[in-house]
Amino acid sequence: MSQIQNNIWAAPRLSMRWWPVFLRNWLVWKKLAIPSLVGNIAEPLMWLVAFGYGLGALVGQIELGGEKVPYILYLASGSICMSAMNAATFEALYSAFSRMHVQKTWDGIMNAPVRLDDVVLAEMLWAAFKSLFTVTAILGVMLALGISHSWKLLVAWPVLLGVGITFSCMALIFNALAKGYDFFTYYFTLFLTPMMFLSGIFFPREQLPPIVRAIADWLPLSVAVDLVRPLFMDRWPDHPLRNVLVLAVFAVVSFWIALALTRKRFRS
């Protein structure tokens, strides 16, 4: 009887029970939305302004697929992916960890008829939603700055939700492993920061040594940039299926690992 549940790698058992948990996070966030939003969009905009206009004046234009684009557009279309990544990661690490470990909110929830699997799903979707919210605000500012006016940005929006989902799933793995907040520093310094520089956000991946580039091409953030950047330039991305598939594989595999490790953490 217990063999099935004993296996932490068993298939996720998901139901609509995630919804009240998601709603709980929404209710808390609603109370703090404005300061939280300012924090979430201020930093990416500073990057954009400082590098886009500052460095952009030196760089001038960047050649992309035979077309010259202003550096600010190049940077904006990449950094929006980074913002999606960061917003989702912060929520799925620090905030989820507070709820899981510090406040014991998850323990409380599981005294009601809600499975751990659904709690993890709710946290994942919540982090992705928050990331989408941040991204939407930043997109709004970019529109206002006139960086891009392509109607294809409407397509970029759901793609960025996918990016948020992928990075939420990945962050939840580290959430499941963490003993304290300090642990998350490793994830940032060992994974996210290198990825930021290898994924063609600030400069084209063509600049990288071939062997590094071969790896960098398969990073989830590279894939996200490859999907989103052309949309900013009013073009359709090359290999959309391959790139969406790579993101989806990262998301599904990460979610599964995160769930297994979280089950292990809660099992005793």
Partner: protein, 309 residues
């Protein structure tokens, strides 16, 4: 004869080579308050966690209500269960009312139903004036009562309370007991674990004494005392008291003599004769009282300190 709300049969839990719950069987009848007592490491919390589906049993069965099995039917069981954990898990960002609302949603209850229940629950918890207060603004006793109110949001058939008054001051503890008494009078059924023997004696209709993962006694508090102990105790303390434990004239008057630190405990059926005999040692101080659950607990589980979790 009602069928039990919960029956646990031959439950076993091992961690590596250590058996923390060893062939444990018990049940809870409707309307009953079953107290689980035992020293640290006796397996109380592990048993409760298995009953809540938070920990996998090694073997044995846990059957609830109308035959639902833990852990297979965990959601169906939880829907009819109210749980107050040892640590408060209230949401610090929500007011008392919001805490109840959000928790009710986890049960799939419609908002209208929950909002209808909130004022009654706050009143029950003596928190009507604190509906808009956040947990950080509440005292320890208020938080515990809010946790209790939260556990009642789904009108559970059975309440599971893990050390519901640990860490509370006497006033808060008495108020909590009084609230639990009200629930019992309304016919609610409760399983509680506790370290406080006066709590167990006051609330529980039946007790389960655990030690090292085993059931070592079970029954009504008064019956257990009558079964295992002489009705009265004379405690003697002061300089030279310990030597009295060897005094033949006194030992003859006591059913059992126990020394703990500097105090001698004479368990007796005839305290008057014993007290008279003790007049010969006027320098020593005596305390004559009825045997209680604490004496029983210490007799069954020993006086040594259990440091392990």
């Amino acid at each position: 004869m009602n069928s039990p709300l919960l029956s646990v049969d031959h439950l076993v839990k091992r961690y590596g080579d250590t058996t923390v719950v060893n062939d444990l069987s018990f049940h809870i009848e409707p309307g009953e308050c079953l107290g689980v007592i035992g020293p640290n490491g006796a397996g109380k919390t592990t048993t409760l966690r298995m009953c809540l589906g938070l920990s996998e049993p090694g073997s044995g069965s846990i059957v609830y209500f109308d035959g639902q099995q833990m852990p297979q039917d965990v959601l169906a069981i939880k829907a009819q269960l109210g749980v107050v954990a040892q640590m408060d898990t209230l949401d610090p960002d929500f007011t008392a009312e919001e805490n109840l609302l959000v928790f009710g949603r986890y049960f799939g209850l419609p908002d209208a139903t929950i909002r209808e229940r909130i004022p009654q629950l706050l009143e029950f918890a003596a928190l009507s004036h604190k509906g808009k207060a956040k947990p950080g603004e509440l005292s320890g006793g208020m938080k515990r009562r809010l946790s209790l109110a939260r556990a009642l949001i789904n009108q559970p058939r059975l309440l599971m309370l893990d050390e519901p008054t640990t860490g509370l001051d006497p006033q808060a503890r008495h108020l909590m007991w009084e609230r639990l008494q009200v629930l019992l009078q309304e016919g609610k059924s409760i399983l509680l674990t506790t370290h406080f023997m006066d709590e167990a004696e006051r609330l529980c209709s039946r007790l389960l004494v655990l030690d090292q993962g085993r059931k070592i006694a079970e029954g009504k508090p008064r019956d257990l005392i009558a079964e295992h102990l002489e009705p009265e105790v004379v405690e003697v303390f002061g300089h030279g008291a310990v030597a009295l434990a060897q005094e033949a004239s006194l030992k003859a008057l006591a059913g059992r003599v126990e020394v703990s630190g500097e105090t001698v405990f004479f368990y007796t059926h005839d305290s008057r004769a014993l007290m008279a005999a003790l007049q010969a040692w006027p320098a020593l101080r005596t305390l004559n009282r009825l045997s209680n659950l604490e004496d029983l607990f210490l007799k069954l589980t020993g006086r040594q300190i259990r440091e392990e979790g």
